[in-house]
């Protein structure tokens, strides 16, 4: 029962058919598939977002009396050191973690694509971090970094690591980078492997006949052919790292002090501190920052020769 399957020749003469084509330019079957998704998206994502944007102009705490305060929340957010520092940490962390993840995943993909023994076994091993929950990973790593490593470092008298990295105000963010990368590498790895597998072997044969070294093969052939996947990975991982929350909460809970408090964490905590409206303003700012960064990143990468 669809307008497109109306018998040919009856189209323009059939008023029902014309009506259908006017109001349902898309076949009803497709509409039926898409409308539930649109409804869910609107109800669970659009509506709360717009709601939050509205309340960012007020001093609402989620219940009780409230009033409009215009852009006062935004004004305050730009001067609030807690907010600004959280952006600083989140951006630094995202950039470094994206680079670490992409480089490591690329190297691992090359290694796992080569003809090695137990290739499937190794691939399974390297995919495992992806299936473990972020909180579980961070709790285990907290224990390792705060307890096991200091003990081992103490035994072998390697002083830099005898105190927990996560308690160091200046370097705790490296611990977060490490754990977040550990979890994100498998995701990037899968995409790079898919890209590598798609490269035909004749290309390599031709290159080796021409006497290209391994590095030249990689830099002049593999990497350019992988570039679209590289774009996908870097944009996606960067966006995901901007939203980091569970890793930070599990590892340091924003500490020491507020050194590793991410933007998502600051926004979330605002709800429990009676700062809902204020943190909604922060959330709107964060949304704009994320969109701008994604557009800029995509633009730069496309111009450099991607086909995405």
């Amino acid at each position: 029962m669809s307008a497109t399957s109306a018998p040919s020749g009856r189209g323009s003469a059939n008023p029902l058919g014309t009506l259908k084509r006017l109001f349902f330019p898309v076949a009803p079957t497709y509409l039926l598939m898409v409308i539930p998704a649109i409804l869910l998206f609107t109800f669970f994502i659009m509506y709360p977002a717009v709601n939050g944007m509205f309340y960012s102009l007020t001093n609402y705490v989620g219940y009780g009396a409230w009033k409009f305060i215009g852009l006062a929340n935004y004004q305050a957010a730009f001067h609030d050191s807690t907010v600004v520092d959280s952006y600083g940490f989140t951006l630094l962390f995202s950039v470094v973690a994206t680079i670490v993840v992409n480089v490591t995943a690329m190297l691992l993909a090359l290694a796992l694509n080569a003809r090695i023994k137990w290739q499937t076994g190794f691939r399974t091993l390297f995919f495992m971090p992806m299936v473990i929950s972020g909180l579980v990973i961070s709790y285990v790593f907290t224990f390792i970094i705060s307890n096991s490593i200091p003990i081992i470092a103490g035994e072998i008298h390697f002083t830099p690591f005898t105190s927990s990295l996560l308690a160091n105000q200046n370097w705790a963010w490296l611990g977060v980078v490490f754990v977040a990368s550990w979890q994100a590498i498998p995701g990037a790895l899968i995409i790079f492997l898919a890209g590598l597998v798609a490269i035909p072997t004749e290309v390599y044969e031709a290159a080796s006949i021409d006497g290209a070294s391994a590095w030249t093969q990689f830099w002049r052939m593999t990497f350019p052919l992988l570039f679209p996947f590289f774009i996908i990975n870097s944009v996606l991982t960067f966006k995901n790292f901007l939203n980091v929350y569970d890793i930070v909460v599990g590892l340091t809970n924003g500490g020491p002090g507020t050194a590793t408090q991410s933007v998502a964490m600051t926004i979330y905590n605002g709800f429990f501190n009676g700062d809902y409206g204020y943190q909604m303003a922060n959330a709107v700012i964060f949304f704009i920052v994320t969109v701008v960064l994604a557009v800029v990143q995509l633009g730069i990468l496309r111009r450099r020769g991607g086909v995405i």
Partner: protein
Amino acid sequence: MRITGTSARTTVSRRAMMKTVGLGAAALAAPGLVAGCSSSGGRTTIVFEETKPEVVPYFNNLVAKFNASQDSVTVTHDFSSSLIAEFVRGNPPAIDCDNYNLTTSIFVARGVLADLAGLPQSKLIDPNIQALVSQYASFKGETSVLPYSVAAEGVIYNADLFDKVGVSDVPTTWSEFLQVCEKFKSAGITPIYQTYGDTWTTQQGLFDYTVGGMVDVAGFYKELNAAGTNLGASSSVSFEKVFTEPCQKMLSLAPYFNANPIAKHYADGNLAFASGQAGMYMQGPWAVGEILTLKPKLKMGTFPMPLTDNAADTKCRVNLDLAIWLPRSQPQAQRDAAVKFLDYLMQPSIVNGYNQANLAFSPLKNAPPQTSPIVTGLQKYVSSGAFYQGAGTYVPITIPVGNYIQEMMLTGNVHSFTSTMDDSFKRLAIRTSA
């Protein structure tokens, strides 16, 4: 496609199927709609929320006794829900008994709590203690919260070590306090144990005690909030003007602290004090439980920290560890049942019994004194209203005052601390008093 009876039949049966599914879902959902306020066989069920972990078994016991003693109300004890989430959903507990601090005072400020001034129990509360409620927030002069348990904190001392170094009476003036510290220092024992690693311990101990003993904390914050966005050199009060002297006194005590306090945390402090490594420890009754677990036979006492050479100026730090409130909008049946339970909880024998058993002080007028030797040193201050709520507790969580205090103790820079606090409060005023 054939538009025949078959597809027509399919359409009808699909419609019928949808109808059945819809009705079935509605039938399943209906009981859920009336959950939370049910009355079965004449008994009204209400939710009593109380989340202080250490006393959950104590209150479970009280709830069971209440349920058994009458047959019109059944109380269920909720000890884990989030109050804020419940208010947002419009589903707060029928009656709540929890810590009253700046964050929970938001419920008062936004007017979502019922006015309890009409209840007879509101007249039983010591007015000095009732005044603690409005120091954080009030709503149109109503009595939004009834205090249930007052926790008092001061300097915990090791009674045996006091005897050992020859201190016979607790210090009541600043000079006496310094003399006690000197005696410990010459005996080679750490006078005061500090744990900068956990910022809250320095904030609620050294900072709150020092400021509270020298400044009218409630009055200060009242004027600070009144100054709003004009806070600074021209306003009547500011952190720079009022807190500089207390902060300098805090730093002056540094020679009497343990070595490397930044590496020490709450647990380290408890262990060190319990094992007799320090004579004095700036903590509250919550730490007493931990210390006694480590050393059950330790003899301890508490005295409020004197900050001037006039003993009459000394005040002790308090906080409302437990306070009762009812939500403003609740069905009449729930309100009546909650008031019945409140009547039971606020009976003097029950209130006083709870506080006696938990090293706390009863908020009722003419309550019997707390007999535990660990905290009797604070009794006369609590009874006479010579107390304050800690200066750090008036700071909203968005301003990390604990971190700022830690930085000040490490760098010795008082001006940086006070100006940061002034700037933070000024920025806060921009968006809260707009």
